[in-house]
């Protein structure tokens, strides 16, 4: 995981001038350059295709030759479609914006660690949203959640929860552009010569752009405050300039404004939901190329399950042997064992 591979940023609280944002997991683990993003996705896709090809072969030799796997771009398209659907679901449940934005972030982060050919974005989306209700402190019961979503059982959501949490590296806290925009909105109301009449309209328009930005990679590349200012600039360029000047009165052309153009381009270019027809085609192909190990009932799935069972059995047997030996030594409490490492998933305290 890149999350663990980046040793770079100093984490000590005494490090001078590290802002709160720079100390966040979002900054430390989830910011990429555009090139890094493209590279990560391509590498993930290549690895997934070769792993799934192998799974096909073990299921039925020769069966992978005429499978057309998804490309990284196609995977991304599908993810984007379901990121867009989060917003519909949130409207239905009347979840606050924070829940929606967090779920979208979780989806995007999840697919920087996983492939859609293993985990279909529809299921991941439902789980990411449920998890987001909890991490943002707006929990609802699983039953209430699934009973409002057609053809969804509680287990559909719960089965993936752990995987999603793990893929996120348990980095649950997210800093959102809509919060930054709220801050800008508070600031611009007190600008000395702000054109008061269209402030509200500008804010509303900017918020629409922030929502559109959730369909893009912006949050994986830029800081939330940069995205918010770009959105304000899309809504009203003079207002964005006025705000920047008020923050940096000594500098004629505040550098923050220079960053905005690529963000604005990205939002305008990628900020709308994908063509349904194009996605339908991808989804149709996905049915044929998804990982058989994840399809209940396939030979590959059964094989993998059996292997896991066998390993667990072996572990249990080993443990039973240990205890038996301890009993024979005449110490039912197994004090001999106390000094030894505890089995990592000791089943005895599971219930």
């Amino acid at each position: 995981m890149t999350a663990e591979l980046s040793p770079s940023t100093p984490e000590s609280s005494t490090a001078p001038r590290a802002t709160l944002y720079e100390a966040s997991t979002q900054y430390r683990h989830w910011r990429y350059s555009l090139q890094q993003l493209a590279h990560t996705r391509a590498a993930l896709n290549t690895a997934a295709v070769s792993a799934i090809r192998e799974a096909f072969e073990s299921d039925e030799p020769g069966s992978s030759s005429n499978v057309s796997f998804l490309s990284a771009d196609e995977e991304h398209l599908l993810v984007k479609l379901y990121v867009g659907k989060i917003s519909q679901l949130c409207g239905h449940f009347r979840f606050p914006e924070e829940v929606e934005a967090t779920a979208a972030t979780y989806m995007k982060r999840f697919y920087l660690k996983n492939t859609v050919m293993d985990w279909h974005p529809k299921n991941v989306m439902l789980t990411a949203l449920f998890l987001a209700t909890k991490t943002t402190n707006h929990p609802i019961s699983l039953e209430a959640y699934t009973s409002h979503i057609p053809k969804t059982a509680p287990s559909d959501v719960l089965d993936l929860e752990f995987l999603v949490a793990q893929s996120l590296g348990f980095d649950f806290a997210v800093w959102h552009a809509h919060r930054s925009l709220w801050g800008l909105w508070l600031d611009i109301q007190s600008l000395p010569d702000a054109p008061l009449d269209d402030l509200r309209a500008s804010y509303d328009a900017a918020l629409k752009h922030v929502r559109a930005s959730r369909l893009t990679d912006a949050e994986l590349v830029y800081a939330p405050s940069q995205i918010a200012l770009a959105c304000l600039s899309l809504a009203s360029p003079p207002l964005a300039v006025a705000w920047a000047r008020s923050k940096f009165p000594a500098i004629p052309d505040p550098p923050v404004l220079a960053v905005l153009e690529p963000i604005k381009d990205m939002i305008l270019k990628d900020g709308s939901p994908p063509e349904v027809e194009a996605v339908r085609e991808v989804d149709r192909r996905l049915k044929l190329c998804k990982n058989p190990e994840k399809v209940v009932g396939s030979t590959a799935y059964t094989k993998k399950k059996e292997e896991a069972e066998r390993k667990a059995d072996e572990k249990r047997r080993r443990k039973a042997d240990d205890i038996k030996r301890a009993m024979e030594d005449g110490d039912p409490f197994g004090s001999e064992l106390a000094g030894r490492a505890v089995d990592d998933d000791d089943d005895d305290d599971e219930d």
Partner: protein
């Protein structure tokens, strides 16, 4: 194996569990170590499978906030991994906690010692508040103490981000003896001031060596508070009679803090009184507290390594942290409740497996 599974397995291998040191309804705590370095750690295994709503809220809160907070006076979350359906939090290992220190009658506290603990508490809390996080369960046994004497805020199972003004929060937080009157009166809109009240109670407890406001019920908590600090007037605390659960509790006179805290310096009592102001908006902030003259006056705070500490037994007494979750296992949704104050959160067993197994087997539920 998936990349994610693989990464998890790798992380799991970095840590070894050595010995179970405590068990509660919501977690099992092990003493463990980092395999590569032998560094001692505490591994808190949270049982997830049993919750019908999946990952439970205390676990989520704890992970969410500790992932973000890194400060000398906040417990460090070193790693998170899963084993089967369990969530494992790898935390830095801390020897003891402030409650044990307070209760150890063989230890003598100097004013400089108390100042040192208070400074570390305020530093940790200021960092949380600076990060927009309310702790909401400060009490001596959540202030853990490292072998070098550093005090660290722990147990973030009830923590949350500040809400926007006008956003309702639950008032069922903070262990009763440390709960501020606004929460007892059912206030649903509150701020960092709730944590400051708790620190005030801890401050007093350090001087008294016994809990300052030990109420026996929520109602009695208010009475105990008013008996100690006087019934608030409209001037002390404008608008408090309009709070949702307000009830008149009779008139208690104000007695000067000096009467009870006979040995304390004027600075010390001044800071204490500012932590225990009824009007939450007037209560001192963690940041201002750190700038209070108390911390700059003689005697200077004791160096953490020189602070009094319980003498470890043959195998050191084992701190048990946050064993009982705040979630009711039988509730219909992922709600929270504050722990009743007399609920045993920590057990301290003697050496020996038999003794330990016995005490672990005991259910630690004293809910009323």
């Amino acid at each position: 194996m998936d990349a994610v599974e693989k990464a998890n397995a790798e992380r799991q291998r970095r840590w070894a569990k050595d010995q179970k040191i405590g068990e509660g309804t919501y977690a099992v705590v092990y003493r463990g170590r980092e395999v590569a370095t032998g560094r001692k750690v505490a591994i808190k295994k949270i049982k997830v499978g049993q919750f019908k709503d999946g990952l439970d809220m205390s676990a989520i809160r704890e992970v969410k906030y500790l992932r973000e907070l890194k400060h000398q006076n906040v417990i460090e979350l070193l790693d998170v991994f899963s084993s089967k359906t369990n969530l494992n939090l790898v935390l830095e290992f801390l020897d003891t906690d402030l409650e044990l220190v307070i209760k150890d009658r063989s230890l003598v506290f100097l004013p400089a010692d108390i100042k040192s603990w208070m400074a570390m508490t305020f530093r940790g809390l200021e960092f949380c508040h600076r990060n927009f996080i309310l702790h909401r369960d400060l009490k001596p046994n959540n202030l853990l103490i490292a072998s070098d004497g550093q005090l660290k805020l722990a147990d973030f199972g009830l923590a949350r981000d500040f809400a926007d003004p006008g956003y309702k929060m639950t008032c069922q937080v903070i262990t009763r003896w440390y709960r501020p009157p606004e929460l007892l009166f059912g206030c649903r809109y509150y701020s960092t001031a709730v944590d400051i009240w708790s620190v005030g109670c801890i401050f007093a407890e350090l001087m008294l060596r016994t809990p300052y406001l030990p109420g026996e019920s929520d109602m009695d908590q208010l009475k105990t508070t008013f008996r100690a600090l006087g019934t608030p007037t409209e001037e002390d605390w404008p608008g408090h009679t309009k709070l949702p659960d307000y009830v008149p509790l009779g008139q208690f006179p104000k007695t000067p803090l000096r009467d009870l805290f006979t040995a304390a310096s004027a600075d010390c009592l001044n800071l204490l009184s500012k932590c225990l102001l009824y009007e939450p908006r007037r209560r001192i902030s963690a940041k201002d507290a750190l700038d209070h003259p108390y911390f700059f006056a003689l005697p200077y705070p004791t160096h953490p390594s020189k602070l009094p500490k319980p003498i470890p037994k043959r195998t050191s007494s084992l701190p048990f942290e946050e064993l009982d979750g705040n979630t009711e296992p039988n509730s219909t949704g992922p709600g929270v409740k504050a722990n009743p104050p007399n609920k045993l959160k920590r057990k301290h067993s003697d050496e020996g497996m038999i003794e330990r197994s016995k005490s672990i087997a005991r259910k630690l539920d004293f809910s009323q």
